[in-house]
Amino acid sequence: MAASATPLTLLDDPQEWSAFSRPLAQQPGCWESSVVFEGMHCAACALTLEDALRQVPGVLSVQVSAASHRGRIVWSDQAVKPSGWMQAAQRAGYRAVPANDAFANERRRSETRQALWRLSVAGFCMMQVMMYAWPAYVAEPGDLAPDLAQLLRWASWVLSLPVLLFSCAPFFGNALRDLSQRRVSMDLPVALGMAITFGVSAIGTFEPAGIFGAEVYFDSFTMFVFFLLTGRWLELRLRDRTAGALEALMNRLPDSVARRGAQGEFERVAVRRLAPGDVIRVLPGEAFPADGVILEGRTLADEALLTGESRPLPRDAGSAVIAGSHNLSAAVLVRVERVGNDTRFAQIVALMESASASKPELAQLADRIARPFLLFVLVAAGVAGAYWWPHDPGHALMVAVAVLVVTCPCALSLATPAAMLASAGALARRGVLVRRLQALETLAAVDTVVFDKTGTLTRDASALGEVHTRRGVSREQALAMAAALAQHSLHPVSRALVAAWQGEAPRPDAWAAHAVQESAGQGLSGRLARTGKMAVGVPARLGSARFCGVDRPATDLLHACLSDDQGWLATFELGEDLRADAQATVAALLAQGVQVLLLSGDLPEAVDRVARQTGISQARGGCTPQEKLALLRGLQSQGRKVAMVGDGLNDGPVLAGAHVSFAFGPAVPLAQAQADFVVLGDRLGSVAQALLRARRTLAIVRQNLWWAAIYNAVCVPLAVLGWLPAWLAGLGMAFSSLLVVLNALRLSAAIQPVETV
């Protein structure tokens, strides 16, 4: 105990916290930690852990996921230290390991090894015990000499012993722990079943004249232990793959990296010790450990997991690389710009972590059913045993064993989270992040999709076309003034103006804007002054004609107006290119029976044009965010389930008002995007794919729940009636859990992407 207490108190050092926790912005002094729990076996464990942790003073909220064994704990650093709640988890019989910790991998490896080793012992002993049981099944009465039969029973006993003592140890350990804490979990009936079978058989071996007769069940015993362990083993492997995208993301960063020292020599340092400004060397095959800029060398980078872009991207000196992407072809020198929690990678991981710990409603229902169901099973086993006892005590106990072993609330409680995690993982690999698993359930029911235009159906990197200016103002000057304001905004039009200014007249010192305020979806207002002069500046507005208070320009292109205290100053026309897959995506959505709408704040003419090009029949331009929201509410009051697709920034309230929301666009700061789904790449087809996948996910969840219900409804009565031998019961239970997980795993397979025209 002393040895394991030391590392726990080490975690109380606030410097260690950032490795597995992040401070909550809304509540100062509160941290959100992500941990992996060991020793969890089923949904009942998740409830117990949550209860145990909630009782620790200072722990504000706890969410534990039974499917991924991960938990999210919010705690206040004034009232408790990490070791406080970690010890609480230990007292409840589980071990909490900080996620992202280097130890976690090491420990998981030894956990897998031990699981495999237990399985092998059970497997080999089972095979040999089968051999010894064979003569007793086939021999005619009198063929088998009594002393030889006794020797075979002896040999079976010897080989069953390691199975009982070693392979079954986790079942017994968990059952004892649950008993000492007066609660029920899945392992209790199973452990009881094992102990009874082995006990009956051992008595049969050593006292053939006893009440149980000379009948032995070593073959049944080893067989169902083997099946159960196989089931658990495969579940463990599948769970690793199901949560695969999540794990792949979190384990993406290397542990160490070669950093250039003061004399130009390279030394390997832990990634955690990197600071902005450091120069590091990243070899081919390594992942970039931080966001940065390439100083020397040219290579190809694989950013598939972060942006959904599956092609390797060329990266030369001067181009930016992002943490978590892979360096594919050559060694490069990189200057570090952002590390740790500031990187986009860290934001993505934080999103995925909180999503995987969130519990969909269907899963909570299954968790609540699990406990009473287990109690019912124990009672049913007792009744069945008592009923058969007068007839034949040995047979009565084996009937009770079959009841105990065959029941499977695991299938019930795994049904929902396994499918949703598989789906979230598959979506993440294609550049769509799910913020709440519950959203998948809602998305499946969506029958109306509302698109925003700019930055969603069209590319946000719009090209600057003609610039109309007031007499006496040059194009360059107008652009420089507009860019000074636009730098304060992430709106696609602003970004396009800034990009155009940087491309055409890059004189960064000409104008400066201050006191800039953004009215979402309408424009920017602020004061413009020539830099270097101590001037208050002139008030200026950049945005829609209505926002700037000027007449509507005679153009139906996307545009922005600039005005100052003397009125209209310039109009910037922006060419819009439709996303390549916009038309195909709309067609795919319509084919799925979904109604598609286009709502935009832009000019009605421009909106109509885009609607015609993409095949959207209902479009409305010139909407303020309030009007958009009102339209959305109207649709919802008609009983429609509405999904909103926007750029996540300018239409925040509208996104929040929809049943399900997609934030779109590579430049969205993830922490700010208040959407249920965040699309990282720039393929619109992801929206249609996500909808398809959500529908398939819910179909599979329903299949799983039905399967679990039918399986238990059929098998428990069969076992009570004594028609189900113990080995078949073990096979049934392992098979049932596996079927649920395998069914969920079908969701990881690719869905045909929307064809790009």
Binding site: S120, Q128, L148, L152
Partner: protein, 45 residues
């Protein structure tokens, strides 16, 4: 048939012997990262 009285205890011992070999293989990491060995030929170095 008498030979069975020798062979059965021998088979029990053989099982323990095989298990010993398996233990060695598992804890030497023979079953981890099975794909990597197959892919090794594709790597340059």
């Amino acid at each position: 048939m008498e030979i069975l009285f020798l062979l059965i205890p021998l088979s029990v011992m053989l099982v323990f012997f095989i298990l010993g070999g398996l233990w060695w293989a598992i804890y030497r990491g023979q079953f981890e990262d099975i794909d990597a060995e197959g892919e090794r030929i594709l790597h340059q170095d």
